[in-house]
Symmetry: none
Subunit: 225 residues, 2 copies
């Protein structure tokens, strides 16, 4: 699974976006850009960033409001959110924290300072991502414990099988294309043969149950009860 940390940056000044993108990508982060608050929310939903940097002053939806809305979406309740703000804007600072921000960063932004602060935030909070557990029919998946229960019976699957099951079960009934499975589990850089997926599916069918895994020929697989 691709493990680059994704950061969403929202600012209405293209110069700043470009500047941050350049500096952060060089550090190995994956950057997603947005030009206003509305776009930031849309892109956050699409890309699931671990961290979000918001300019306070933006058209469409300002940073404060954007943050408030994001915090109301369960997925982003624990995402790191930091504000970009001009010096001396103390009002923003207070309002920002009250709305659930984790930090604010004053402009002009110095890349080294920014990166240090981000690392400090992530060091402390980053690993606290708690993944949800899935329960469908007789199958239960405990992501934290890396365990699968089938009719209460404890199964411990190898990594790839677990990830595959975990992926398919994250949206029961949804058909995952082979492409999608590949990119989500192996990442976009690693290329594996087509038979590889089949083999893992086979193992899962053996262990979990034949009928739960349905093949949609020419498309992909789905998990269902």
């Amino acid at each position: 699974m691709s493990d680059k940390i994704k950061i969403l940056i929202a600012d209405d000044e293209p110069d700043i976006l470009e500047f941050l993108q350049y500096n952060l990508e060089r550090e190995g982060y994956e950057i997603i850009l947005a030009e206003n608050g509305r776009e930031a929310i849309t892109k956050a939903k699409a890309h699931h960033p671990q961290m979000i940097l918001l300019d306070i002053m933006m058209p469409e939806l300002d940073g404060i409001e954007t943050c408030r809305e994001l915090r109301n979406i369960p997925e982003f309740k624990n995402t790191l959110i930091a504000f970009l703000t001009a010096r001396n804007e103390d009002y923003s600072q207070i309002a920002g924290f009250d709305v659930g921000a984790d930090d604010y960063i004053t402009k002009p932004i110095k890349p080294r300072v920014l990166i240090s602060r981000m690392k400090a935030l992530m060091r402390r909070f980053g690993s606290e991502v708690q993944e949800e557990n899935v329960s469908l029919g007789s199958i239960e998946i405990d992501r934290e414990k890396y365990l699968v229960y089938k009719d209460g019976e404890k199964l411990s699957l190898p990594k790839k099988e677990f990830e595959l099951l975990s992926l398919l079960a994250s949206k029961p009934g949804k058909v995952f294309s082979r492409k999608e499975i590949m990119s989500k589990i192996w990442g976009n850089d690693i290329i594996v043969g087509d038979r590889t997926i089949d083999v893992h599916i086979r193992k899962l069918r053996e262990k979990i149950g034949d009928d739960q895994f349905k093949t949609i020929k020419g498309i992909g697989y789905k998990f269902d009860v």
Copy 2:
């Protein structure tokens, strides 16, 4: 034990100390004061504050060094540490984060901003409350005394082994990835080889019991009964 949140403040200017003490006590915090870094470390050990504010420029031991020393004491590995710094001291900012600080606060300090920031930090921190003692099955861990009891028999483990056990036992059943273990026990700056963790696990298996420590290949380890 008093349930007030304790904050240790170290600064060599009595005015600032008094100012902060007044404002923070009014908010219901318990304040411990220190006039230099050396005193800060002594008092931290005595009072176990949840949060520490350090001035950068102090006699005896400056803030940066104090922070570094504190971070080397296991008890304070996860304590919130923030620096008090004059505006534009960017050097301090960087050095501060690299040394493991969680935030820096620029002087002149505005009480409302300070309190907001502290709350932002603690909001995150709150969920991370680690209990003093853990007891699972035949194992008992006394974090304060750095002791482990196995079937009532006292074991005194070396530091790293203790920390590793303590971490794994903090969430029994949860799989801790190697990455997670590394960052929680060694920090993000120190890099140790992969085999290092194995060796410590081995020692623990020897001393505590083979079956309690389970390997999840490709992921990490978990502790269970």
